[in-house]
């Protein structure tokens, strides 16, 4: 016990004496939480549309007006040449081309049906997809209006209509930040846990002090606990700063209990600290540790469901996410913060992350050798 106290005393002294770490601890959460959620916004607006009007009728103009009046579309080109519209797409000035062929109005009136052509620049898949959906719904609306105009005061509805009304639970205003902030908190905690712990241990290898420690009768578990506990505490401090910032700037107050959030964070940190420790046992220099941590974190974050929905990943990637501790914490944070899930609801997550913790730490401890 006394050895552990001595070790912790020394670690905390060094941490508080290192301005770089202190800055990292306080500035990183602020930047990440204040800038990222505002920038990483998935709502698609300002889709540039080129309308190729080869009909020049009152209906084609009405449709064009309706589109440009929508908040989603900017009418950038209005032309009667399809090639000109495509050129605008090539120059990246337009995302969507809508072609209204000649005889559009005539066909609509006489044949009771007309065709439109839509071309989407699919380089940005999300934008193309949503642009197509928005445009289709505007055209449907337009269709309804035309129909209404023709059938003045219908005695009965010629077609049965199903009207759908929906309500958005847990995030009623579809505020993207509510979705992002809990996830970013997870990234913060993970970085502190895995990065700082790995770098700290490898630094001792690099400057040679680890030799001096290995030549003492210190026990392996004492040394490792002495290294893990400080970063475990720091991780929880960062989480608290993050939760405070989320409350001040985004008004996000966890629906569920803080106790659940912290309990999960405590276990989760053990798992990521184990990862950091493991990385440190396989590397000799801070540079190596940094590069490996960076690679691992990159994969974990990109495949952790922060930016992209796991449900829409291919099967192999979905299976991978099951082995990614980050996924579980992001899910838990969203569940507890937005939905108010209780400890009982997240019990599977907790169990799995406990498993990760045991596995990673055991591996790291076995691989940490006082004698080479």
């Amino acid at each position: 016990m006394r050895t552990l106290k001595i070790l912790l005393e020394k670690e905390f002294r060094q941490i508080f004496r290192n301005p770089a770490i202190l800055r990292l601890i306080f500035i990183m959460p602020i930047i990440q939480l204040l800038v990222l959620p505002l920038a990483a916004d998935y709502e698609v607006r300002d889709i540039n549309i080129a309308v190729v009007d080869q009909d020049h009728s009152s209906y084609s103009r009405k449709l064009t007006d309706k589109i440009s009046a929508s908040k989603y579309f900017n009418l950038v080109v209005y032309t009667n040449s399809y090639n000109e519209a495509i050129r605008e797409v090539e120059k990246d000035n337009a995302d969507v081309v809508l072609q209204i062929p000649s005889f559009f109005e005539k066909n609509l009136v006489k044949e009771d049906g007309a065709q439109l052509f839509m071309a989407l620049n699919a380089i940005n898949g999300v934008k193309a997809n949503l642009g197509g959906v928005y445009l289709r719904s505007i055209i449907n609306d337009f269709n309804g209006e035309v129909r209404l105009e023709w059938m003045q005061l219908p005695r009965f509805n010629p077609q049965p209509m199903i009207k759908i009304s929906s309500i958005n639970w847990f995030n009623p205003l579809l505020n993207y930040q509510f979705f992002m902030v809990p996830g970013i908190l997870v990234i913060l905690v993970t970085m502190v846990g895995a990065f700082l712990a790995a770098l700290n241990i490898v630094k001792e290898k690099e400057i040679g002090t680890i030799e001096q420690i290995n030549v003492t009768p210190i026990r392996k578990h004492q040394f490792i606990l002495g290294k893990l506990i400080p970063f475990w505490v720091l991780g929880l401090v960062i989480l608290s700063i993050g939760l405070l910032l989320a409350r001040i700037f985004y008004g996000i107050i966890p629906e569920g209990s803080f106790l659940t959030v912290y309990l999960f964070a405590v276990v989760y940190l053990l798992a990521v600290l184990g990862l950091g420790l493991l990385i440190s046992t396989y590397t000799e220099t801070q540079q190596q540790a940094m590069l490996i941590s960076f690679f691992v974190m990159m994969v974990f974050i990109l495949l952790g469901g922060l930016y992209t929905s796991i449900d829409s990943m291919p099967m192999w990637a979905q299976i991978f996410t099951k082995f990614n501790p980050v996924t579980y914490f992001i899910e838990v944070m969203r569940m507890v913060v937005l939905k108010g899930s209780s400890l009982y609801d997240i019990r599977h997550h907790l169990l799995i992350v406990t498993g990760f913790g045991i596995f990673l730490n055991t591996w790291a401890v076995i691989n940490y050798k006082k004698r080479s």
Binding site: R2, T3, K5, I6, L7, E9, K10, R13, Q14, R17, N18, I207, G208, T209, E211, Q212, I213, N214, V215, T216, P217, I218, K370, R371, S372
Partner: protein
């Protein structure tokens, strides 16, 4: 100096793949002796020393350090030895007092003992005014003397010093050797490597390693006589010239 054996090594070998860094070395070091462990760069001195300190596992051979078996009782060995590595290995971002507290603490000294030791050390090294200075602010000579004192904080039976005076000025080297003599006079066995042949002359006995093997082992006087030369420098050059490998 007594006749009891502090370190007993027999056929100790360390291989890294095909490369035999230490090739079946055999020697004894008596308690309270200052044992000089010489050899050119890459001869295998540091590897041998790291094995004796329990930092590196031998490939084969037997060794007994401070009465404990190197394979089975390495943690007991560690309680009884001090080690000062080639690299400066105190914490730069801690003060002298804090370094003492840390190393004293992990050797299991009580607060009282640490305080007493620190007081004594500061006085001895004339560093009282620097007790709360960060170690990185000290000049190299002081740092080396400090490292030596810290490696002796738990009064070990044996202290291993790996090129303790590398890069240090002649006055500090002299002071350093005074400290070594003091330690030896208190009964501590000193196992020291060096490239300075004047320092080799200060040792009770020296061994000279060439290409992983011990080529000579005796008192400096006996060695100079045997090789019929003026001093250790020439003994060393004659032996080391035979080396086929070098690290640079």
């Amino acid at each position: 100096m007594s006749n009891r054996v502090a370190i007993s090594v027999s056929g100790l070998t360390k291989q890294f793949g095909d490369f035999t860094a230490v090739d079946a070395i055999t020697f004894d070091v008596k308690q309270g002796e200052i044992f000089g462990f010489l050899g050119a760069n890459g001869a295998g001195k540091t590897t041998a020393m790291r094995m004796l300190c329990g930092l590196s596992l031998p490939t084969s051979g037997k060794a007994n350090v401070a009465g404990f078996d190197l394979y089975k009782e390495s943690e007991n060995i560690k309680k009884n030895i001090g080690y000062m590595s080639q690299k400066f290995s105190l914490y730069d971002d801690l003060t002298i007092r804090e370094n003492n507290r840390f190393y004293g603490g992990i050797y299991g000294l009580t607060d009282e003992q640490i305080k007493e030791k620190t007081q004594f050390m500061l006085k001895h090294l004339h560093l009282e005014s620097q007790a709360d200075t960060l170690v990185k602010a000290l000049p190299l000579g002081w740092k080396q003397k400090l490292s030596f004192s810290v490696s002796m904080i738990h009064d070990p039976k044996i202290v291993f010093l790996d090129e303790p005076t590398g890069g240090v000025d002649p006055i500090t080297r002299r002071e350093f050797w005074t400290m070594i003599y003091e330690a030896a006079s208190r009964g501590t066995t000193v196992f020291v490597t060096t490239h300075y042949m004047d320092e080799a002359e200060y040792c009770d006995r020296v061994s000279i390693m060439v290409d992983g093997r011990i080529e000579a082992l005796d008192t400096p006087a006996a060695l100079t006589k045997k090789f019929d030369v003026k001093g250790m420098e020439e003994v060393f050059i004659q032996l080391a010239r035979k080396a086929k490998r070098s690290d640079n």
